[in-house]
Amino acid sequence: QQQVKQSPQSLIVQKGGISIINCAYENTAFDYFPWYQQFPGKGPALLIAIRPDVSEKKEGRFTISFNKSAKQFSLHIMDSQPGDSATYFCAATVSGGGADGLTFGKGTHLIIQP
């Protein structure tokens, strides 16, 4: 059972444009939603995270939008740059419930064209 659905699988955006990656979850107990960025040959690295008590979190050019009623959250990359080209994973978990591990989406391969 896939608990976190991520789309699209791949995305091509022109430099300076807005990249948008979407995720939907099923488990209403999830209360922590991070995004990870992975460059080729590297492990994923935490990019930004949100809890459902807020609808938006912004860090620099990266913004998470969260819609609790729809059970959806998305990553927006403003003014996308070639250096943002990477694979992005959304994830979710029930915090405080023990070290159960994050449930990841299947990833989005993002290419920013110069």
């Binding site: 994973f89 070290a99 159960d100 994050l102």
Partner: protein, 112 residues
């Protein structure tokens, strides 16, 4: 610079071999995890550990076992490697109650 170190970047093993993948973290984290990453399937949890000598099955534990004899070291064991275990294996760690995992760079295992 804190980090998670996986002992091998690339491994090639034969079918039926016993394979050990080692992971060491220097952050004194309680929690450690093993994931496998496959194209189109994302990251899938194999096993995790929240304390020394403790282990819990993740979503896809079949064909794998783990060992955590020391807090900083978490080993993944393939008892009898099979070709369907060819994959990228990622180790991660986190402190208790913190889900900002730190990942290693991964071990790309090929079973022939």
């Amino acid at each position: 610079d804190v980090k998670v170190t996986q002992s091998s970047r690339y491994l090639v093993k034969r079918t039926g071999e016993k394979v050990f993948l080692e992971c060491v973290q220097d952050m004194d984290h309680e929690n450690m995890f093993w994931y496998r990453q496959d194209p189109g399937l994302g990251l899938r949890l194999i096993y995790f550990s929240y304390d020394v000598k403790m282990k819990e099955k993740g979503d896809i534990p079949e064909g794998y076992s783990v060992s955590r004899e020391k807090k900083e070291r978490f080993s993944l064991i393939l008892e009898s490697a099979s070709t369907n275990q060819t994959s990228m294996y990622l180790c991660a760690s986190s402190p208790v109650g913190n889900y900002g995992y730190t990942f290693g760079s991964g071990t790309r295992l090929t079973v022939v």
